[in-house]
Symmetry: C2
Subunit: 393 residues, 2 copies
Amino acid sequence: MTESSEIINTGLRGVPVASTRICLVDGQNAKLIYRGYNIIDLAQNATFEEVVHLLLFEHLPAVDELDYMKQRLAEECAIADEIITALKTRPADASPMDILQACVPMLANHDPEATNLSAEKASDTAIRLIAKFPTIMAAWHRIRNGREPVSPDPSLGHAENFLYMITGNRPDAEVGRFMDVCLVLHAEHAFNASTFSARQVSSSRSHMYAAVAAAVGSLSGELHGGANARVMQMLLEIGSEDAVEQYVESRLNSGGKVMGMGHPVYKTGDPRAAILGPMSKKMGERVNNTKWYELSEAVRKNTQEVFMRLKGTEIYPNVDFYSATVYYAMGIPVDMFTPVFAIARVSGWCAHVIEEQFAGAAPKPVLYRPASEYVGEYCGPEECAFLPMEERQ
Amino acid sequence: MTESSEIINTGLRGVPVASTRICLVDGQNAKLIYRGYNIIDLAQNATFEEVVHLLLFEHLPAVDELDYMKQRLAEECAIADEIITALKTRPADASPMDILQACVPMLANHDPEATNLSAEKASDTAIRLIAKFPTIMAAWHRIRNGREPVSPDPSLGHAENFLYMITGNRPDAEVGRFMDVCLVLHAEHAFNASTFSARQVSSSRSHMYAAVAAAVGSLSGELHGGANARVMQMLLEIGSEDAVEQYVESRLNSGGKVMGMGHPVYKTGDPRAAILGPMSKKMGERVNNTKWYELSEAVRKNTQEVFMRLKGTEIYPNVDFYSATVYYAMGIPVDMFTPVFAIARVSGWCAHVIEEQFAGAAPKPVLYRPASEYVGEYCGPEECAFLPMEERQ
């Protein structure tokens, strides 16, 4: 291997891929905008169903539009019995994200128009996918525990229905709204890794199910959607406040990270954490256990102090930091945290697939086909001569 | 929508993503190189198993290394009974590529070390995936026809085994070798769309199954792996040589394309087509039906003439053009053509995932997180004011 064979990969950081009308992540000003609307306004005032409408149809719904969206989500939230049967073949210790990635292409099997790539069909497919994500994950959680899935209750809101199907109990209004706000906050985030995957897969004119399944795969990684589960695992590992200082010192002194702290884009704070922090406290109070919220606050403060001492800069909690303790207090299993992220983000993925396929300057989507530099100088500047097997070393 | 809201998307054409030691696509010189070796040498002299070793381990195998590779592929080619049971829940008209995309994450459910992201495990996972792709697709083809899957025969080569499992008959040596060469030719092609998807998904430290499932989704699109099936559909639609001229004229005069003709990178000919053209002729002769080969030659010549007249430049058949008629003469159903592509390309995907995760200049993979430009001026330069639903129009 020669010097020139070193592999360079910058992860396309700062390289613009496309323009988009869907989302602005303004890291300098700690702002997140969905189609013109500030995330803080949406989290305080809008439901997930309204945000789905905003993302797919470019405006917040009027009363009749929201009624129609709710009706379509209710009509589409059930999954085929054959998918339930397929889920029952899966081993109980399977990762829920692997289960979800397997189920999404199966949904295409039951949509006779899956390969209809018209714009009209695209928004309908989006609604089908968004409607079915909570059902799939809740069904899997019941099945792996040897219980029958709970059928969705069309009278409940999207967030409430997920909590109902996973626990078997209808949540009260405040907890249902907390989950609703979590879905609003996680719905969209511009060209993050999973969304980029969805757009990229759809650029070959694959159908939306194929693109969304790819995005589920991307989200499952620990550098992306897997982070919220890892925050909770960290808190469980630390266990008590007196162990925080040693944990944080040892992580940061060895060049490691504290999960959920810091963000590649938000340098002055993640606006979503500002909503989720107080929610974590309230959710802890509701279940008479604020231990995990308080422990997370100790980790945050300690990390901020040590980071300032070591690096001379501020560091802030990101969206994963407090969502972990919110979900934990709601009784959601830790390995379902990333699926909750997916249940929200599927709305953004679908909006981006629609933009990729129908809103481009060109009449058809442009296949993503980047360049690469070949540095495989195996036999020097010449091609390798093919040797019979017996002569190979 | 203002003027500035136009969506720009260049598909990253010409934008270098990374350097790579795996593959050179030299469009100007019509050359394809896998890790130093010219594709023509490999197609003439090497088996798919040798190419898998080359892609995964960076050198052609010596005798004992090839023996070990064959042994591992034979050990891993069976799929879990639970996956067969899951396949039996799928509707018979399901797209084989959707079935494949669903099965890949299911394989992770049966690999207790799926989330072990060490380099050693990565090459083992790659071998598992490569070994199982033909088994999955052949099993699905049998099941959808109401037949029991044929178990893989560990004494057969990889290509022969696929033909055996799909047809139930052991192919003769020449046909087996033709399929073997097809797999060699389709194994790898640098940063094509599906490979880019696999690398991109793995960059969040998702496991290899998640990344490969994403790549299957990308390959399924008609602008990528779906093209070989579309070539055959075109030939079946044209039907006879006397209809060629009108078909080609009408396609090219209306700004359309002739499937399988032309390539975004190979401007002086696709080296793979030079191998596949004669193979298509021989395969037709073997089954006493050269009609589809001859029809494809008429389409090629006619397209080249019309293209020269209209555009003043040459156009050449690509890899999909002749592989379509080769597979058809082998008796492979048209909707299994793209899965055959996947059975070959999974080797390249795995090599790229390994490079992405372990061969970077940085010690850890860099999450692909490109930039985008927000042009969503919904309410002018200001954010939109949140209105109560009753006031929305």
